[in-house]
C-alpha cells in the first residue's frame, strides 16, 4: 500500500466523521425550507453532539454491560463501513478487508447490537422498536445485497473499489439493471436511515417510531454516539449510492490531483443527494408500519428483477 493510499484512507475516515453530521444538518435544513419552516443552522448537529457529550449519562438501574457497550460497537461498525466505501478515492488499503457482502454484514452487526441494546432495559418501547427495526432490517438487508449484486454482476466483482473503478472508467453505457437497482436502493436507504415514508426521524410519536424507539432509553454520550452513528450511516449509504450509480470523479491509485479534485466533487454530489432526499421525504407521507414489509418487499423484488435483467441482457 502506498503512502498516498494510507493518506486517502485516513482522509476517508476523517471525512466520514466530519461530513456525516453536516449531511444530516443539510438534509434537515432543506426539509424545513421545503416545508416553509425556518431552518436550524447547518451546524446544529455538531452542537447537539457537543451538548450531549457534556451531559451526565443516565442509565436504567438494571441495564446490563451490553447496554453500555452497544453504542461504541455501533459507532465502530459505522466508522469501519464508511472507511471501506470509496468516497473520494478507490485506493483504500482497508477495502480488501471487506467487500460488498461484508459491508452489508457490517450494517447487520450494527443493527443487531442496537436492537439487543434496546431490548436490554426491557421497557415496552425498547422491545417494540427492536422488533420493528429487525423487521425493517431483514427485508432491507437482502434488498441492499441484491442491489450490490447487480453492480457486481456487471463488474464481475464484489469488492467495492473494483466496482467503482470499473463503473467509473468505462465509457458511458446504459444499464437497465442498474436503473431498477437504483430505484430499489433508494427505497432501501429510505428505510434503513429511518426516513419518511418508513419512519420519521423527528417525532416521538409512540405508535410509529422505529429508530427513536430504539434509542429512547439512551442519553448523553451514548445517545450522542448513536446519533453520530446514525448520521454516518446516512453518509455511508449516500456514498454507496454515489459509488454505484454516479461513480465519476472518484480518484484512483496514486493520482494526487484527482484526489484533490475528488473532494469538491463528492461534496457537490452529496449536496444534490441530500436535497433530493429532503424532497422525497417532504413529498411522501408516512406509511403504516405493516405497509413497510410491502414497501421493502417491492424493493427486494425490483433488485432481483434487476439481477435477472442483467443475466438476460448479459451484463455489458
Amino acid at each position: 500500500m502506498s503512502a498516498l493510499g494510507v493518506f486517502s484512507q485516513l482522509m476517508a475516515l476523517v471525512l466520514a466523521l466530519l461530513l456525516a453530521p453536516l449531511l444530516t444538518g443539510w438534509v434537515n435544513q432543506w426539509r424545513h425550507w421545503l416545508q416553509n419552516k425556518s431552518a436550524p443552522s447547518l451546524l446544529q448537529p455538531y452542537r447537539t453532539l457537543h451538548k450531549l457529550f457534556n451531559k451526565d449519562s443516565l442509565i436504567a438501574e438494571h441495564a446490563s454491560p451490553l447496554y453500555r457497550f452497544a453504542p461504541y460497537v455501533v459507532f465502530g461498525c459505522m466508522l469501519l463501513a464508511s472507511a471501506i466505501i470509496p468516497t473520494i478515492s478507490t485506493d483504500l488499503p482497508l477495502s480488501p478487508a471487506a467487500d460488498a457482502i461484508a459491508l452489508v454484514g457490517l450494517f447487520a452487526l450494527a443493527r443487531v447490537f442496537i436492537s439487543l441494546a434496546a431490548m436490554d432495559v426491557g421497557t415496552a418501547f425498547g422491545s417494540m422498536g427492536a422488533r420493528r427495526e429487525m423487521l425493517v432490517g431483514f427485508l432491507a438487508e437482502p434488498a441492499l445485497l441484491m442491489v450490490m449484486f447487480c453492480a457486481s454482476m456487471i463488474t464481475g466483482s464484489t469488492s467495492l473499489t473494483t466496482i467503482v473503478e470499473t463503473l467509473a472508467h468505462r465509457d458511458l453505457a446504459i444499464y437497465p439493471s442498474l436503473l431498477l437497482a437504483g430505484v430499489a436502493f433508494t427505497m432501501v436507504s429510505l428505510a434503513e436511515n429511518a426516513r419518511v415514508p418508513v419512519d420519521n426521524p423527528d417525532t416521538h410519536l409512540e405508535l410509529t417510531m422505529i429508530h427513536e424507539a430504539l434509542v429512547l432509553e439512551y442519553s448523553a454520550r451514548h445517545l450522542a454516539l448513536m446519533e453520530w452513528a446514525a448520521s454516518m450511516k446516512l453518509f455511508a449509504y449516500s456514498c454507496i449510492g454515489l459509488a454505484l450509480f454516479f461513480p465519476w470523479g472518484v480518484a484512483e491509485a496514486n493520482a494526487p490531483l484527482a484526489l484533490l479534485l475528488a473532494l469538491p466533487v463528492l461534496v457537490f454530489k452529496l449536496a444534490i443527494g441530500g436535497m433530493l432526499l429532503a424532497m422525497i421525504e417532504t413529498a411522501s407521507a408516512k406509511m403504516r408500519i405493516f405497509r413497510v414489509p410491502e414497501f421493502l418487499g417491492t424493493a427486494f423484488l425490483l433488485a432481483v428483477i434487476g439481477l435477472l435483467v442483467n443475466v438476460l441482457l448479459g451484463g455489458t
Binding site: 480488501p96 457482502i101 452487526l109 439487543l116 432495559v121 418501547f125 454482476m153 405493516f290
Partner: protein, 674 residues
C-alpha cells in the same frame, strides 16, 4: 489387522479405532457404575472429552494423509467390516471430535440425578452414539455403514427417551425412530442399486461400477430421500423439532451439531464419491429442496415460543443452506466447472463445521438455562444476563455466529456461498443462469431472517426484565458447563477469524470430490480470504475485527479524555406510565408476530382472540406445521384404512378359512396348468 505393537507404527486409523474402543469401554464402565452418579459425571464424561480431543488431533494430522484402509474380522463372512480413513472422513472426524469434546465436557456438569434413565446407562448410550458416528464416517462398505448408521439412530433414540415418563417425549422419540428407519430403508435400497448385482458391497466396488443414468438417478434420489430424512430436509423434517427439545441438551447439541452433518456426509459420500456419473438436475433437485427447507425452517423458527424448538427449526434452516451449497457444487461439477464447484463445496463444508460449533453451543446454553430456571418456554424467561452472565456472554457469540454476522464462522460460510452463487454466469442452459441468481436472493433473505430469529432468541431469553419471579433465583452454569461452552466458543471464534487455515483443511476433500480447490488462491494471500482473485472478492476477518475493536476502543478513550465518564443509575423512563411491569415487554409471540403476519400462508394458525367485552380476556395463537396435516396424517389414515380392509380377511369362520385354502389351491393349479 494392523500391528498394535509399537505406538510409533500406529496409523491414523489405528488411533481412531483406539478412540472408538475407548469410548465404548467408557460406556461399559458406565453400565458397571450404573447409579454412581458422581463418578459417571466427574470421571467418565471428561475422560470421553479427552478422547474426543485426541480424535480431533488425529483427524487434523490425517487431513492431508493418504487414505488408509483396514478390515476388521467382524460382520458377514463374505463381507467383513471394511474401514477407510480418507480426507473426507478425516474432515468429519475433525468435526465430530471437536464438537463432542465440548459437549462431553458440558455433559459432565449437565446430567443430574433424577427420574428416567440412570446416569450410567445414559453414559453408555451417549458414548455409543458418538462412537457410531465416528464409525459411520470410517465405513468403507455398505454393511458396516448401515450397521453403524442404525446404531447411531437407535442409541440416540434411547437418549431422546432419557426422560421417558413424559408422553410427549415418547411420541417424539417414536416419530424420530420411525423416520430414521424409513430413511435407512431408503439408503439400503440405494446401496442395493449401487452394488449393481455384483454381490460385493464394498465402496471400492461401487466406485468401480458405471451405472446407466436411469439406475444412477434412482440411486441418487434414494440417497437424497434416505439421508434427507436424517438431515431433516423437507418434507421429512417433522421429527426434528420434536426430537431435539425432547432430548437432554447435550444430546440435542450432538444431534443437531453433528448427526445432521453425518447425514449430509452420506449425501456427499454417495453423490460425490460413489456415483461416478453426475447429472445436472441432481444439483437442481438438491438446491431446490435445500432452499425450500431453509426458508421453511427459518420462517418457522421465528415464530417458535419454545427455545429448543426455535433452535431446532434454525438447524433445519442451516441444513437446507448446506444442502443448497452441495447442490450448486454438484451442478457445477456436472458441467465440469471445477473451480466454482470447489468453491460451493467449500462453502457447504465450512457451513457444516461452523454450524456444528455454534449450534451445539446454543443448545448447551439452553441446557444451562433449563437447569437454572427449569423453564423452556421463551414466554417465561428474560433478563438472565444479570443472573447468569457467563452463559449469556458465551451464548452471545453463538448467537452472532448463527445470525451469520462478521467476523464469526457463520458469516464466512454464507460469504463463500454467496460468492459461489454470484458468479455463475456461463452455465450451458439459460434456465439455470436465471435460476441461480434467484437462489442467491433467497439465500440472502434467509440469512437476514436468521438474524431476526437470533435477536429474538437472545433478546427474549437473556435481556429485558425477568418475566417470572422465580428467575431471580437462577444460578449461573457450573464449572464443567462453562468449560464446555468456552471450548465451543473458541471454536466459533477461530473458525471466524482464520478461514484460510480452515479452508486449507478442506482442500484435499474438494480435490478428491470435485477435482478443484481454493488453496492455491488462498495460500498466496496470507491475511486475506480470496476465493478467486483479489479483484473479484476478498475478506479479512482479522482486520475487520481489529477495525471494529480499534474504533470501539478509540471512541471509548477519546470520549472519556475529551469529555467525562460520568454515569447515573436511574429507573427506566416509564413513559409517564406509573406502573411498568415485565409483562409489558414483547413476548416471544409478539416478537415473531410480524413475520407470522407476512408469511401467513406458510403456517396453520389457530387463533383465539378476546372480544372487547370479555371480562377475562384470553388471547391464544397456535402456529402449526401444515405439512403435518397435508402429508403425515393422510399417510397414517391411508395405512389405517388399508389395515381395516385387510382385517376383514380374518373374520373367524373356519368355513371361510377353508375356502381361502381351497381357492388358493384352485387358483395356483390354474396358474401352473396354463
Amino acid at each position: 489387522m494392523p500391528s498394535l505393537t509399537i505406538a510409533a507404527t500406529w496409523t491414523h486409523l489405528d488411533w481412531v479405532l483406539i478412540v472408538v474402543t475407548a469410548w465404548l469401554l467408557i460406556g461399559v464402565v458406565g453400565i458397571a457404575a450404573l447409579r454412581r452418579f458422581r463418578f459417571v459425571a466427574v470421571v467418565l464424561f471428561p475422560l470421553g472429552a479427552i478422547f474426543s480431543v485426541l480424535l480431533m488431533a488425529v483427524a487434523l494430522s490425517a487431513a492431508y494423509a493418504t487414505p488408509e484402509v483396514a478390515v476388521l474380522p467382524l460382520g458377514l463372512p463374505q463381507l467383513p467390516f471394511h474401514l477407510r480413513l480418507d480426507n473426507l472422513s478425516a474432515f468429519f472426524l475433525l468435526l465430530i471430535g471437536g464438537v463432542s469434546a465440548g459437549v462431553s465436557t458440558f455433559a459432565a456438569g449437565y446430567f443430574r440425578q433424577g427420574e428416567g434413565t440412570p446416569p450410567g446407562l445414559l453414559c453408555l448410550e451417549y458414548h455409543v452414539f458418538i462412537a457410531s458416528m465416528a464409525m459411520v464416517v470410517l465405513a468403507d462398505d455398505a454393511y458396516v455403514f448401515m450397521v453403524m448408521w442404525e446404531t447411531m439412530a437407535f442409541s440416540s433414540f434411547f437418549l431422546v427417551l432419557a426422560n421417558h415418563r413424559i408422553p410427549e417425549i415418547r411420541s417424539a422419540g417414536y416419530l424420530y425412530m420411525l423416520v430414521a428407519h424409513v430413511g435407512a430403508l431408503g439408503i439400503l435400497l440405494c446401496f442395493g442399486v449401487l452394488q449393481a448385482n455384483t454381490g460385493d458391497y464394498t465402496f471400492a466396488n461401487m466406485r468401480a461400477q458405471h451405472l446407466e443414468p436411469f439406475w444412477a438417478s434412482i440411486a441418487f434420489v434414494l440417497a437424497v430421500f434416505g439421508f434427507g430424512a436424517k438431515a431433516g430436509l423437507l418434507p421429512l423434517h417433522a421429527w426434528l423439532p420434536d426430537a431435539h427439545p425432547a432430548a437432554p441438551s447435550p444430546v440435542s447439541a450432538l444431534m443437531s451439531g453433528v448427526m445432521l452433518k453425518i447425514a449430509l456426509y452420506g449425501i456427499l459420500r454417495v453423490g460425490f464419491d460413489l456415483l461416478q456419473t453426475r447429472i445436472w438436475w441432481w444439483g437442481v433437485l438438491l438446491m431446490g429442496v435445500g432452499l425450500l427447507t431453509a426458508l421453511f425452517g427459518v420462517v418457522f423458527s421465528t415464530v417458535q415460543v419454545e427455545m429448543k424448538r426455535l433452535l431446532a427449526y434454525s438447524s433445519i434452516e442451516n441444513v437446507g443452506l448446506m444442502c443448497a451449497g452441495l447442490g450448486l457444487s454438484l451442478l457445477f461439477s456436472s458441467y465440469g466447472m471445477q473451480a466454482l464447484s470447489a468453491l460451493a463445496l467449500t462453502a457447504a463444508l465450512y457451513h457444516m463445521l461452523s454450524h456444528a460449533f455454534f449450534k451445539s453451543l446454543l443448545f448447551c446454553s439452553t441446557g444451562a438455562v433449563l437447569h437454572a430456571t427449569g423453564e423452556r418456554s421463551l414466554g417465561k424467561l428474560g433478563g438472565l444476563i444479570r443472573t447468569m452472565p457467563w452463559v449469556a456472554w458465551l451464548t452471545l457469540v453463538g448467537v452472532l455466529a448463527c445470525a451469520g454476522l462478521p467476523p464469526f464462522g457463520g458469516f464466512v460460510a454464507e460469504w463463500l456461498l454467496l460468492q459461489s452463487f454470484l458468479f455463475t454466469t456461463g452455465l450451458p442452459s439459460s434456465f439455470l443462469d436465471m435460476l441461480v441468481p434467484v437462489m442467491a436472493a433467497l439465500i440472502a433473505l434467509i440469512a437476514a431472517f436468521s438474524g431476526f430469529t437470533m435477536v429474538k432468541y437472545f433478546g427474549v431469553v437473556f435481556l429485558g426484565q425477568p418475566r417470572d419471579e422465580k428467575l431471580a433465583r437462577a444460578h449461573d452454569a457450573g464449572r464443567w458447563e462453562r468449560l464446555g461452552m468456552l471450548w465451543l466458543v473458541v471454536g466459533c471464534v477461530l473458525l471466524g477469524l482464520f478461514p484460510n487455515q480452515v479452508i486449507a483443511l478442506m482442500e484435499p476433500v474438494t480435490q478428491r470430490l470435485v477435482g478443484g480447490g481454493l488453496a492455491h488462491t488462498v495460500a498466496d494471500s496470507s491475511w486475506l480470504l480470496v476465493p478467486v482473485n483479489i479483484d473479484r472478492a476478498s475478506y479479512a476477518p482479522v482486520i475487520f475485527l481489529l477495525g471494529v475493536v480499534l474504533t470501539f476502543g478509540l471512541a471509548f478513550v477519546l470520549v472519556r479524555r475529551l469529555y467525562h465518564g460520568r454515569l447515573r443509575r436511574v429507573p427506566p423512563w416509564d413513559c409517564g406510565h406509573p406502573w411498568q411491569t415485565a409483562r409489558m415487554q414483547d413476548t416471544a409471540e409478539g416478537f415473531g408476530q410480524p413475520i407470522q403476519q407476512i408469511f401467513d400462508p406458510f403456517f396453520r394458525v389457530t387463533k383465539q382472540q378476546p372480544s372487547a367485552f370479555d371480562d377475562k380476556p384470553i388471547y391464544d395463537v397456535k402456529v402449526e406445521d401444515p405439512l403435518w396435516y397435508w402429508l403425515y396424517l393422510p399417510v397414517a389414515r391411508v395405512v389405517e384404512k388399508l389395515s381395516r380392509i385387510v382385517g376383514q380377511l380374518q373374520q373367524g369362520r373356519i368355513a371361510v378359512y377353508l375356502m381361502y385354502s381351497f381357492a388358493t389351491l384352485i387358483v395356483v393349479l390354474l396358474v401352473v396348468k396354463r
